[in-house]
Amino acid sequence: MSKSLSYYHNSMEKWLHLKELQYQWPNSSKQLSINLESAANSLLISGKSGVGKSSLLNLLLGFLRPKSGSIHCLGFDKPLHKQKNVSSISQELLLLDELSAKDNIRMAASLKKVVCDELLYSYIVKVLSIDEFEHKAIKHLSIGQKQKVAIARALITKPKLLIADEASSALDKHSEDNMLKLFKHVSKRLGTKIILVSHHEHIKHHFDEHLRLKQEGRYDHVKLISETTI
């Protein structure tokens, strides 16, 4: 395991603590070991398929249990998936197929008992170009369009933390840029921390930190933006 490259300034508040975290895949000798602290507003997790990117997200959300170590995120006691102000975007997207894009987005706000901010809604819909298919049922949309709806649904609740797994895998370059622009905007305006898992390392310059997972449980943790920019 290579040493993590940490450049934190001591005054920055660290919100993510993965202390000696170890996860053993069932029926396999493969193991993921991470020791990490972060104060960044956005964190990109990348790596080849099967290195454990999604497993790390599931560990963070509390869907998987670590073999040892601990996870502390934003001071929450409960698993993150039970937190009202944590949103996640799954690879499967998990949308209600028969409802329109608009209904799916608004339903998330309603389920989390958050008043739907019309200005934010209009902004998200405009940036992601959802307005073109806002009233269409999800079952009639392409995967890329569904991804956009899933992103909008995750952001409409103004979360403190957004955890996204391959949220831009089916998006074209332009849409991916718009998504990253949107992430930056909500991070700056709403203070939302963003953790994104992606294969696309070329987008790393949009993030404050980059965690590259490698084979056999090794990783590189790189701070990409200077503290003043953060």
């Binding site: 869907f63 409802l99 389920l111 609740t157």
Partner: protein
């Protein structure tokens, strides 16, 4: 939000919902109709058995005597003289029942004042809603349904039909309207025996097809009935004890109906379980969407329950309404089978409770199964 969820579910499972709705509705309609028939028969019998202590008529089977003499379904040709009946010391009063003419296809009965006195005594209620019994030959008393259906008021002139002709000379005037009795009497008109003799130009013969007898004490009913039943050419029965026997023989029918209902409920439960099994994946995906969007287990449970209630509730509404509609349309045919007019179509708490309670239990069963499936499924949840 629940409406959105309902919309999603209805669209997603519409074919399944529709099939389930049809089969559930059919089950409920059958359950409701069975219940309706049974209640109607039982209450009809009980109500009619209160009308008189003893019924005497020409020699025939007990069943025929009951149908003809108490349910006034048809008139036998044979008549019996009143003199024969005056033998028993236990008789309080006699009311002759003479099938007279008809008015707008409704039966007209010729009788005496005592008929109404006895009616009050037996039903423990005032016989007349408006007006009074006959004072002269032109007076006619009408049943509650007749008054309501034809909108007849006191003083209304009524013409009687006999065979193909009309007694145009004999115009009757409504002198009294009876209170509702939930018996055949509501659908009858009553004239005095003197009027009947006058219309038909008969001499005073004191001959009636049937006699309704009021005993001095109800305990004497069986004895009176027995006395007259022995006499050649007569048959008699005490409706109260006859009904007890009849209902006892009806227990077998009731048990069969109960078994049928139980079978229907089991079919119902199996349909519900097969629905949940067939829709397992999409159902669990939906629960997963709700769960990952921050819904509590309580909300997910409630949404499952709502689902069951939606299917079962709408089936109950459709089933019960169609059962009531069909019973109303085919009320005449049903009357031929059950012997009584369908007077209990309206809300009947016992019947509705016997349908709704099993349905509610089934909704809970469906919810519990869904919840168990979800609990098992949620253990392996990942994003």
């Amino acid at each position: 939000m629940l409406s959105l969820l309902a919309k999603q579910r209805f669209k997603q499972y519409r074919v399944f919902f529709l099939l389930l709705l049809i089969s559930f509705s059919l089950c409920i309609a059958i359950m409701h109709s069975f219940g309706l028939f049974y209640i109607n028969m039982k209450e009809g019998f009980i109500q009619h058995s209160k009308l008189t202590d003893v019924l005497v008529g020409p020699s025939q089977s007990q069943n025929a005597l009951f149908k003809e003499g108490l349910l006034l379904q048809s008139s036998p040709k044979a008549k019996i003289p009143e003199a024969v009946l005056n033998k028993s010391p236990y008789i309080d009063s006699l009311s002759p029942i003479i099938f007279s003419d008809s008015h707008r296809n409704k039966t007209v009965i010729a009788t005496t004042d005592s008929f109404f006195h006895n009616l009050e005594k037996k039903l423990k209620a005032t016989a007349f809603d408006k007006g009074r019994a006959f004072r002269n030959k032109e007076d006619i008393v009408i049943g509650a349904t007749i008054a309501k259906r034809f909108n007849y008021k006191l003083g209304k002139r009524v013409e009687l039909s006999h065979g193909h002709g009309h007694h145009h000379d004999e115009v009757m005037i409504v002198s009294g309207i009876l209170n509702s009795t939930s018996t055949v009497l509501d659908n009858c008109l009553f004239i005095a025996t003197e009027a009947y003799e006058s219309i038909h130009h008969l001499k005073k013969e004191n001959k009636a097809q049937f006699y309704w007898i009021s005993a001095k004490k109800p305990i004497f009913s069986a004895s009176i009935a027995n006395t007259f039943h022995q006499i050649k050419g007569l048959s008699a029965l005490a409706p109260a004890s006859y009904i007890k026997q009849y209902l006892r023989s009806f227990t077998a029918v009731k048990s069969s109906i109960t078994l049928c209902l139980l079978a229907l409920i089991i079919v119902f439960a199996m349909q519900l379980i097969s629905m949940l099994a067939s829709l397992f994946h999409s159902y669990m995906k939906e629960a997963r969407v709700l769960f990952t969007q921050g819904s509590s287990l309580l909300f997910i449970t409630f949404s499952f329950f709502l689902d069951q209630c939606l299917i079962i509730g709408s089936s109950a509404i459709i089933g019960i309404s169609s059962s009531i509609a069909l019973c109303s349309v085919y009320s005449r045919a049903i009357q031929k089978i059950t012997l009584f007019p369908l007077t209990h179509l309206a809300f009947h708490i016992g019947l509705y409770a016997s349908i709704i309670i099993p349905l509610l239990l089934l909704s809970f069963l469906g919810t519990a199964i869904s919840l168990l499936l979800w609990k098992k499924h949620s253990r392996s949840l990942k994003i």
